[in-house]
């Protein structure tokens, strides 16, 4: 087992505190300067109320929660059985039970892993703390001691966690933690070599994709959120409900998704950076208003945290099946921008671009995240919050000249926009076709010019914002657009990523897995690279064309059935790419992508 990169699964019943254990564990690791990637997606075979958390730890950054478990924490025998098939060879098992009396042969006869530590977690919690439910904290103490985490971070986190509940609860949980540690130190004979290394640093933050989107919006100057709860997007709204009022903004829970976006458009019209977040069903309901946003040229950012579709579908599962709707949904033809963040970090970053584009080009921007990204967690550097500049949200009054025309024809297609309150800027926006000053018009020549004006706005957007992430070997390159060479990359040259045998194109959250598959492929001697465009519409031809032309075979990886992005690319490039699709609600694992790469490599 490589102690620089290992995967832990925590399995238990819904009431057993698995999620809290997972939350504390990730933070403890992050404070100890380890990187993590974790997910709470239930393993599919688990039905009903069972809880499961999977955490991958790494000395270097880890980009996905991994394949097989190196450590399994099982809160019960049932929990053990759910997960015993998911382990790597040599895996460690930590399980609740009586070490003295347990019939190891009967209970663990089917264990294909390594050392087994049977720990009387429930008994310790009951006898020493007087509260059996504290067994998850006991387990945490045991694990920390076994892996070599210092106690102070955990204790600090426990104190904060139970602050609302008062000193007594804090004290008993601290006692549970210590009891776990003590038991491990005194009674467990360590039969494995897994100890976490000491790493210098100030610690990392831990964030989910949904958290990162909410904070990204906050930093981007978003001061109005209108929304309606829907899995798996609700956490964005919940975080902004806490944060927005603190910076003078508003989180507004509307009566439905239509009212949400309507309120967002109203707020945006009135001059505030505004957004909503939803999932597929909500985006469907917003179709009509998205068209209004484009027609009336009111900026708006809409986040879609995709889930399994169609209809109510698989609300807690992941999928990338709303691309078509984002690109083509809604009646009539209107300009729009579609972006897809590739990681939790990128969720934060994309929001800034999304708000800038929406406001500058006066178009709707749709950001496609997904359940597998929104509910995944990762470590992020503190500097992300400490050093990212915050957008200036102050919008001084402007005086407008007589004859001001809201939709004035310009070469860029972008018309100067007055905001209610601005003297001389009065105008009426409308979703009807209109003259430049805003009055309704169905005069054919004006109509033709207005259609062109609106679409003209997107003309050069791909040059300015159409970056891609390129992965090759262990390298990464962020290439902003065709004319610059990329930044902060670990790849030596653009050419390196844009020439080879197998070229993978993906979008969104699969990047973390594909990146790892590409790296593994290189280790096996296969020439493979991957790009992930962050902006899907307008299509970034300048970067994607050389990638396609530079590779012998192209593979499009996406979590859907019909191959939506593959089709999109097919009609741009007259190619028939190979496809790797998954639509069972679960994210890809690196292994699955690697197998496909190997299969293609045999035919290159």
């Amino acid at each position: 087992m490589n102690r620089n990169d290992f995967v832990m699964g925590i399995s238990g019943d819904a009431g057993e505190g698995v999620l809290l254990y997972g939350d504390l564990m990730t933070r403890i690791a992050a404070r100890a300067n380890l990187h993590i990637s974790s997910t709470q997606t239930f393993p599919a075979e688990v039905r009903g109320g069972q809880s499961y958390v999977q955490i991958r730890f790494g000395v270097d950054s880890v980009f996905n929660p991994g394949d097989k478990l190196d450590v399994l924490i099982a809160f019960s025998n049932l929990a053990y059985h759910w997960c015993k098939g998911m382990i790597s060879s040599g895996a460690i098992l930590i399980i609740d039970g009586e070490p003295e009396t347990v019939d190891r042969a009967a209970r663990f006869g089917d264990w294909k892993g390594g050392p087994i530590y049977v720990v009387p977690m429930t008994r310790i919690a009951g006898e020493e703390i007087g509260e059996k439910r504290a067994k998850n904290i006991v387990a945490l103490g045991v694990t920390c001691a076994l892996l070599g985490f210092p106690a102070d971070h955990a204790e600090d986190l426990i104190r904060r966690q139970f602050k609302q509940k008062g000193e007594k609860v804090i004290a008993s949980n601290l006692a549970a933690y210590t009891a776990g540690r003590t038991y491990a130190e005194q009674h467990i004979e360590k039969r494995d070599t897994l100890t976490i290394p000491e790493i210098d640093g100030d610690g990392h933050m831990v964030m989910s994709g949904n958290d990162a989107i909410a904070l990204g919006a906050l930093y981007a100057g978003c001061r109005f959120y209108g929304g309606y709860p829907i899995t798996p997007a609700t956490e964005i709204m919940q975080l902004l409900a806490d944060e927005l009022p603190l910076v003078g903004g508003t989180m507004y829970q509307a009566e439905d998704e239509i009212a949400s976006l309507a309120a967002v458009l109203g707020a945006s019209f009135s001059g505030v950076r505004a957004m909503t977040a939803t999932s597929g069903p909500g985006l469907s309901l917003m179709s009509e208003l998205l068209g209004l946003s484009a027609m009336a040229e009111i900026p708006v950012v809409v986040v879609d945290v995709q889930r399994g579709g169609p209809s109510t579908g698989l609300p807690t599962k992941t999928e990338q099946s709303d691309l078509n709707m984002a690109v083509y949904g809604g009646h009539g033809e209107f300009p729009r921008v579609v972006m897809a963040p590739i990681s939790i970090r990128d969720c934060f970053n994309v929001m800034r671009r999304a708000f800038e584009i929406a406001e500058f080009y006066q178009v709707p921007v749709i950001v496609l995240s997904e359940q597998g990204l929104g509910h995944r967690r990762a470590t992020l550097p503190r500097r992300m919050l400490e050093q990212t500049p915050k957008a200036d949200v102050v919008r001084p009054l402007k005086q407008w000249r007589d004859g001001y025309a809201r939709y004035a024809f310009t070469e860029s297609g972008i018309s100067p926009r007055s905001i209610p309150g601005d003297p001389g800027g009065a105008h009426v926006i409308t979703g009807l076709e209109h003259w430049d000053f805003g009055g309704p018009s169905h005069e054919p020549e004006n109509r033709v010019e207005m259609v062109r004006k609106r679409f003209r706005k997107l003309r050069n957007l791909d040059r300015k914002y159409g970056g891609v992430f390129a992965f090759k070997g262990a390298g990464i390159l962020q290439r902003h657009h065709a004319t610059t060479d990329g930044e902060a990359g670990r790849l030596s040259s653009v050419e390196e990523a844009f020439r080879g045998d197998i070229g993978i194109i993906g979008w969104g959250a699969t990047a973390g897995v594909v990146r790892e598959a590409v790296a593994r492929a290189e280790r096996r001697g296969i020439s493979a690279a991957a790009i992930f465009p962050r902006m899907i519409l307008p299509h970034n031809d300048m970067t994607i064309r050389p990638f396609i032309e530079g590779h012998k075979s192209i593979l499009v990886v996406e979590e859907n059935f019909t191959g939506q992005y593959a089709k999109f690319l097919a009609h741009h490039y007259s190619i028939r790419p190979a496809k790797l699709n998954k639509y069972d609600g679960l994210p890809f694992t690196p292994d699955q992508v690697l197998s496909k790469i190997e299969e293609l490599a045999d035919h290159v």
Partner: protein, 306 residues
Amino acid sequence: MSNTPEPQEEGTMTTQTEPKPKPSAKDYKGRLKPIWCPGCGDYGVLSALLAAFADLEIDPDNLAIVSGIGCSSRLPGFVKSYGFHGLHGRALPVALGVKLGSPHLTVLIVGGDGDGLSIGAGHFPHLARRNVDVTYMMLDNRIYGLTKGQTSPTTPHGIWTKTSPAGVVEFPMNPAALALCYGATFVARGYSSQVKPLKSLIMAAIQHRGFSLLQVLSPCVTFGRKCGFDAIANSIKECPAEHDCRDASSAYQLATDPQNIYSGILYQEERPEFISTLQAMGGARGRELDDGAPEIDVDRLVDQFS
């Protein structure tokens, strides 16, 4: 076509200190001439509205009129102010967004009976109960005007329309009564032919702090004549002088009186307004952020996520 690569401001504001002359209704006329049918009730509403603006000396630059889709919803185009002629049925949530976004604006909603009670029916209770400080003028012609004469939620029972060839089966909705049930803090009813009283009602509605509904009976002369407007002209009555408009249950009785159609202020109540409550918690600062936006507390956030 001018060569404007990016949005440009047309110069920053010059502070104007000269005293302005008192405005007249004409000063609020918009760039478009009304395109309603000759005789349409909405003309009367428009002139009452412009007169009310003038009397209140409302600043057109800080006025936003939001509407849906329908003949009545064309009104914003005929007024000099910021306007949002949006989608059918969505005027209310849009207006709420405008007001939450920029609380210093005067926000007025104009829409039809179909717009507000049919496709928009889900938004009305929520705006009312939240007591958002906007004024909602529902121009009730008891028919779908723009689409040429189909049944609306206020079309009287038994009337023939293009979509009710055997007469309307349903009984009509009563917007004033509904607003009362929804918790609106100001409910009034006016008539497009009585321009002066209507003007006063509009003024009172705008001045009210909180959600105000003003139902305006405004006949559609082209498709809605059969909807009982001739009778209304004769039978509409002012609220009895002794009516105490703080009394909700007598307001409800007047609103639903089976014999008479009562006009005037049916109900008015003081209740904390939505936005001021949000502001008390720090939010909804809108463009007032100019006076110093609260900073993001980075340290707290870093700590929260560590």
